[in-house]
Point group: C2
Chain length 282, copies 2
């Protein structure tokens, strides 16, 4: 039976396990996490074996899925590299890809040729094994970023592993990935965090809880995400994030300027560009 | 039978009519809107009589509910004032309150004493009679802003009129209202519009449609709202909106600065303030 070790059995890793279980995939799954999360995942029936030590968790694994935070990735890879079998395939679920591919190149040794960087475009402001959802990836994108021919050869097997999740799998370079996700995910998180921080630190934080409508609730939802996780992502992908930030600041300043000068035409112009695009998103 | 004239039978006005119908309130409802919206509302069974002329619509009305855009309010009030009965009570559903109360003071004449400004905290990026929802107001706030004793006397009757919507009715001054809603609604809309505009005008607008996850979808959702409506609200409440904008810019600049200088502690501090507040919102 295929053995899959999932290192980091929180929302993403746990939901991958849950999806494989729900689709009846015959696999023995090892889950690893610090603290009680892996034991909890076993209690929930998501994994067969629970570990706190990643080196122990990867023993005998055909697949190792690293679903740990990006800043932890290189240390983790370095730790498990000597314990990987000669045919073990590795992927990760990190939200940024250039730095993780660099970490893998530095830390995995020969196993780098059996590694393919990956990123499931799914998440939630919730976390931990109790937040897992077997349908978390259904219909969502799962991006793979192979960087050499050896890695490209493993993409087919990785696609078969991930298919039961219902994700739409595609691939791109780590550079294209990081630019795109700075724009559609990382920077939007910063925007939501800034909005939440401004309200939290203003004089109306309590009234805002009482009187907010669905608009603020939606716009700020992802500000409930883990500060630690997102500080890691924003710093890891800083140059691409700052590029998105610069263009956002330009639009924001244009809107503020138009309100200050009561310039309705300029304001409408910005609002219409946004509204047209957002209606396309559906 | 009580006669209710709803001027502006779009999402808000239409949903009020739908709520009254759904709760079996015995009332004859006149709906008025430019174009075909009132006729459509009658087709949908939301209103008994359809008008395009507000002066005709308010004839014989016990209640007049103005659910028109804020910039149209004063002209509308001036037009209907001579047609109002001696006991007709009036309210509005505008998203800002200081300017609407001023408009009412200027335009309603003697009927100003039978007017109470109102604001249902409900909305949607959708609009028009086909978007109406009898439960739109259920459990949401509906703020009343009476500004003198005569108006305060009419609040009881207005509460009874609105009760069937399931809204939680409270009151505050127009000034407190405009400050609070700049913070929890108007400025957050500008933030979402700026995000949408930056993406729309960047080089990744199409890829963003394909690869966006739930985070961007939520954060930008209200950017699909009507540019015309929201330009009107942002300009009408400009001073309070700019106050919220200033504090937001401070937080945004702090986050951008922290990313630029790779200052994790400052970044975490902002993200944590946001996350703590947003988790309270639930």
């Amino acid at each position: 039976m295929v053995r899959i070790a999932i290192i980091g059995i929180g929302l993403i890793g746990g939901s991958l396990a849950a999806a494989l279980r729900a689709r009846g995939v015959t696999a023995s799954i090892a889950g690893c996490a610090p603290g009680d999360d892996a034991a909890r995942a076993r209690e929930l029936g998501l994994v067969d074996d629970a570990f706190t030590d990643p080196v122990a968790a990867v023993q005998g694994a055909d697949w190792v899925v690293l679903a740990a935070p990006v800043p932890a990735m290189e240390t983790l890879m370095r730790a498990i590299a000597p314990a990987l079998g000669a045919a073990t395939r590795i992927t990760d679920c990190g939200s940024t890809k250039r730095s993780v591919v660099e970490s893998a190149r530095n830390a995995l040794g020969a196993a780098f040729s059996r590694y393919v960087a990956g990123h499931p475009i799914a998440g939630s402001e919730r976390s931990g094994p109790d937040a897992t959802n077997p349908d978390l990836f259904r219909g969502r994108r799962w991006v793979l970023c192979p960087v050499n021919d050896a890695q490209r050869e493993h993409c087919g097997a990785l696609r078969r592993l991930l298919e039961p999740t219902g994700a739409v799998i595609s691939d791109m370079t780590p550079e294209a990935h990081d630019r795109l996700f700075a724009e559609v995910s990382h920077w939007p998180h910063a925007v939501a965090f800034a909005l939440g921080a401004a309200i939290a630190r203003g004089g109306l934080a309590d009234s805002a809880i009482e009187f907010s409508g669905g608009g603020l609730r939606d716009t700020s939802r992802i500000a409930a995400s883990s500060p630690d996780l997102w500080a890691g992502i924003l710093l890891d992908n800083a140059d691409a994030v700052l590029e998105s930030a610069g263009r956002y600041r330009t639009e924001l300043d244009r809107i503020i300027g138009a309100i200050e000068s009561r310039d309705r035409a300029t304001l409408i112009d910005a609002l219409e560009a946004a509204s047209r695009w957002r209606r396309r998103l559906g």
